[in-house]
Symmetry: C2
Subunit: 297 residues, 2 copies
């Protein structure tokens, strides 16, 4: 990771944290706001937000729209973690080294906090006033709704639920992850692109779509590798959880070394897509593809 990218990423994370701290209000009734802030603030790599902001940078996007989109994808991600950790789903007690939301606030409050974070993600994209054109607002909210819903993240989680203890082919596993984690990662890139002040050339659109697909898949492959090779302290969650739960993973399907080779191939694909885009300001996207594959937690 270059020093330039580190500086950029630190600066962008600070902007996102500050905006989220502002938009996720503690004022919501009956401690709901407190639970929402606990879930949404001060944690995580903010990978999705950085993908939005890096893609927006590549297309000289509307800065206000990009910051809102960055926060919106993080709010959707945060809500999905809250619900995913609940006893009826993965039953996790630890997230980013802290008690999960339902452990801290109770299941009912966790359910509501997740629900309210999803609504807030959309609210965030739909400000009153002239700073983000209405057509851009609608395009951003449309991309997010699709990525979050039944044909995206929620659908992927349904496949995941149904797959426990069942052998999946690589194609089936890939489809599950394309929806479960890939859809929102890919939407992050697409939403950054949707902040462009005018329509991009079709070749650049297609290349950034391919970039998002490769990074989305690489993320999951590396996640499965870290579930085997990582430790709970660095991960901030229980390692070996998926293997224990008899969930199919890229490592269980392909083996460790082939899974690592796949992650490297996807990184190369992501970089090639950036070269093919014809866009110049793609340094941050390039570095983010590296970070996804090289991360240790």
């Amino acid at each position: 990771m270059s020093a330039d990218f580190s500086t950029w990423a630190r600066h962008q994370r600070e902007r996102v944290e500050a905006a989220l701290a502002d938009w996720v209000s503690a004022d919501a009734p009956a401690s709901l706001g407190v639970a929402m802030r606990y879930a949404a603030l001060g944690g995580g790599k903010r990978l999705r937000a950085l993908l939005v902001l890096a893609a927006a940078e590549a297309v000289q996007g509307n800065a206000d729209a990009a910051l809102r989109a960055a926060c919106a994808v993080e709010l959707i991600h945060a809500y999905s973690l809250v619900h995913d950790d609940m006893p009826c789903m993965d039953d996790d007690v630890l997230r980013r080294g802290k008690p999960t939301v339902h452990v801290k606030f109770g299941q009912a409050q966790a359910l509501l906090a997740g629900d309210a974070l999803q609504a807030l993600a959309f609210e965030c994209l739909l400000p009153v006033g002239p700073q983000v054109p209405a057509a851009m607002q609608a395009a951003l909210a449309r991309l997010l709704a699709r990525a979050a819903g039944a044909q995206g993240m929620a659908g992927g989680q349904a496949i995941d639920l149904a797959s426990v203890g069942k052998p999946l082919s690589e194609a089936e596993l890939r489809h599950m992850h394309q929806l479960k984690t890939g859809a929102l990662l890919q939407a992050s890139v697409a939403m950054g692109v949707a902040c462009a002040p005018q329509v991009l050339p079709a070749a650049a659109q297609a290349a950034l779509h391919d970039f998002g697909a490769a990074v989305g898949l690489a993320f999951q492959v590396v996640d499965d590798i870290l579930d085997v090779t990582g430790d709970a302290q660095a991960l901030g969650k229980t390692a070996g959880k998926d293997a224990q739960a008899d969930k199919p993973t890229y490592v269980s399907l392909l083996g460790l070394a082939p899974a690592q080779a796949l992650a490297e191939r996807l990184r190369t694909q992501a970089h090639s897509a950036l070269d093919a885009s014809g866009l110049r300001e793609v340094g941050a996207l390039h570095a983010l593809a590296d970070q996804v594959v090289q991360r240790t937690h």
Copy 2:
């Protein structure tokens, strides 16, 4: 209820059912679509949808936008019922005379189906193509996000959770219900109004806002009355549930006859607001206020 209104309401309900049957696809992976359809189709009075369509009629609104908005509020309502019925919330096993979603499909699938229905509500409001202008799409999605979130429905449910076994003043109870059920009912009227091809006069806007507030509150007062006077078969849910759970209600706070008088006063307020609006096509809104107060289930 006039014969005209009955005919209008039946026709509109059929349009909404058909549109929902089309938009809530069974294709979602791993039975998620089946659970979503079970939750969203073929049941309920569709009061929220009718409020949208009646308000849109009063302002000669965009018909495609109004039908989408009608479905979107019903999808949000359906998701909230799925989550509200779960064991960690109200733990209800019966809804509209059928097993609740988590009883039928399991808690994890119910959680995901609710989550996906919320995303679908927004997707529904944000079609690609020229039939609904982008500014109208953004305005509709903004109203829905606010009504569903922490300062609306989800916030009201958080107050409700926190209020079990606690004495509330009438003002506190009113605030809870303004958020929990009032916000979405009021948003239904506001979304119908937002389908207007041009901005309404301020007096009409304010009058329809007052109408929505009165109907939203009347709905909850009548709900509390029916919880005492209704029977499970007509209600399609367990009667006496709130009283049993030691939840504060308008009946427990005011007594039955004063709660009934309050409902009547709110009906009069709603009708007066329509008179003050200066709009002519308010027959359906007028009849809906009657229906909210006179309903027996």
